[in-house]
């Protein structure tokens, strides 16, 4: 069994693009949530959201003029940016003339692909102009669009695939890559996930009334995980990417090691025992957390910080209760916990990857990132854990082990245990 370490990070988030900007913004508790007139024009209840700001100049740094011809897929763009950044951050070359590397692969998830491109295509199709679609529709709208784009850009010769499990996608991708390296099937795996954005991806959630509609005048205050005044999630988007590598491979090439993936677990609640299409089976969530801890070979007491799923719905208290039960820790003995979503919103399929990057950055910088917008912590949460466990300002403290969990529609769960690297 190989030990698996993280040697590269890339992130495209609503509050910062690139590791430095994202770290700075997150550390300072800066929100990336803004008002979107387009949503208001379309009669959305929730007119705020988080979209990374990528202009034409920035796009052109990642994709060629040919790749950008007829290009209209936000998720693929964010994913390529994060993936290429992570690859370079790991000290690996992007060489279009090199042969494919049989030892490097990718699991890069997505919830949908090229939804805006698909919309364009549908208008043409309904106008009986199928022949006018050109060659660009399939590659941008196929579910595996992101892994197809990135796999070619990086020249990966091992498994190249896209996974999809709603808001668990990014965390699941990471664990799929982790297992592939652990069992010796690959030396390096680029893992991550991305999400489209805008009305055509967010509309369904707005219709379900699960998005926050009370902060259209005050977007930065809108995403309120763990707050008594939370009124639903704020949609976000972007991408996160991590280069996972066998410890041996990382040492052989003298790579910078951010952290180690100790273990993890994915499972499903089967939409039984309180679990539904949209709500978690708490037993399964607890089993997932406990399973991850067992897989990592640590004690629950060793966890220093949790990066939760915590979307800012009524389920936040349930999630905290599940952590308390699974870890057997409560009150002042509970680990520090935070939700990246307070600053970037719920980045849907990209959430698990962006938040995993944030988790690693906390280990790297030895600080707990702040939770914003929870000055009024929900009383049900305070019944379970001490207020000091939910830092509202960035806090320097020694951190060794971090847990990251993501939960998704379909009653699916993933939990990952990361550790500082020491050989």
């Amino acid at each position: 069994m190989n030990r698996v370490v993280i040697t590269g990070l890339g992130v495209v988030a609503p509050n910062g693009i690139g590791q430095d900007a994202f770290t700075r913004a997150t550390k300072n508790g800066e929100s990336g949530i803004t008002f979107h007139p387009k949503l208001q024009e379309l009669n959305f209840s929730c007119c705020i959201g988080g979209m990374p700001v990528v202009d034409d100049t920035l796009r052109a740094k990642y994709l060629s003029p040919l790749q950008l011809r007829g290009f209209n897929s936000a998720g693929i763009l964010y994913g390529c940016m994060a993936g290429m950044d992570a690859w370079k951050d790991a000290g690996l070359a992007i060489d279009e003339h090199a042969t494919a590397d049989p030892h490097s692969g990718m699991v890069f998830g997505a919830g949908s692909s090229g939804i805006d491109k698909f919309r364009e295509a549908i208008y043409l199709l309904d106008d009986k102009q199928v022949r006018r679609l050109g060659s660009t529709v399939v590659v941008q709208t196929m579910a595996s669009g992101i892994s197809a784009y990135l796999g070619g850009i990086l020249g990966l010769g091992n498994q190249v695939t896209t996974n999809s499990s709603a808001c668990t996608t990014g965390a699941e991708a990471l664990l799929m890559g982790f297992e592939r390296i652990k069992y010796g099937k690959a030396k390096r795996m680029l893992v991550g996930s991305c999400s489209d954005d805008g009305p055509y991806i967010w509309g369904g959630f707005d219709a379900m009334r699960v998005m926050s509609y009370k902060h259209n005048d005050d977007p930065e205050r809108g995403s309120r995980p763990m707050s008594a005044s939370a009124s639903g999630f704020v949609p976000g988007s972007g991408a996160g990417a991590l280069v996972l590598e066998s410890l041996q491979s990382a040492l052989d090439r003298g790579a910078n090691i951010y952290a180690e993936v100790l273990g993890g677990m994915v499972n499903s609640g089967g939409q039984r025992l309180g679990g539904t299409m949209t709500a978690p089976n708490s037993d399964a969530v607890q089993q997932c957390i406990k399973g991850a801890i067992a897989d990592a070979g640590i004690e629950a007491q060793a966890i220093d910080v949790i990066n939760g799923h915590l979307t800012a719905t009524s389920k936040d208290s349930t999630e905290i209760a599940n952590w308390v039960t699974a870890l057997g820790r409560e009150g002042i003995n509970f680990p520090y916990i935070n939700s990246q979503k307070s600053m970037v919103g719920h980045c849907l399929a990209a959430a698990g990857a962006i938040e995993s990057v944030a988790t690693i950055l906390q280990l790297k910088h030895q600080l707990v990132f702040p939770n914003i917008n929870c000055e009024d912590i929900h009383p049900e949460i305070l019944d379970l854990i001490d207020e000091s466990r939910i830092p509202q300002k960035s806090m320097e403290t020694p951190l060794r082990i971090a847990a990251k969990a993501s939960f998704g529609f379909g009653d699916v769960n993933a939990c990952i245990i990361f550790s500082n690297f020491s050989n």
């Binding site: 003029p65 040919l66 011809r69 007829g70 006018r132 050109g134 060659s135 660009t136």
Partner: protein, 84 residues
């Protein structure tokens, strides 16, 4: 339309898709789109759409199959435009 003008327009159309700059710099009537200019075969349909837009013509599937070189494209475009 003069031959020269037609070639100039075609060069502008294929430029975004070519992957062999040298072949493009020496483009002549005999130049072939895939074998010489190394245009990805999937992109040929995009070249056809751009040709249709530029010359305001419609190119059918059978004609597209014949459009392997600059001269073939010129013949088809000229014939189509003559009919209009």
């Amino acid at each position: 339309m003069e031959k020269e003008e037609l070639i100039t327009k075609l060069k502008k159309i294929v430029l975004p898709y070519i992957q062999d700059q040298e072949a493009f710099d020496h483009l002549s009537e005999e130049t072939r789109f895939i074998t010489d200019l190394k245009i990805n075969s999937a992109n040929l349909v995009d070249v056809i759409l751009d040709v249709e837009d530029e010359f305001d013509i419609r190119i059918e599937n059978e004609e597209m199959e014949q459009m392997v070189s600059v001269v073939a494209a010129m013949n088809i475009i000229t014939a189509k435009m003559g009919k209009q």
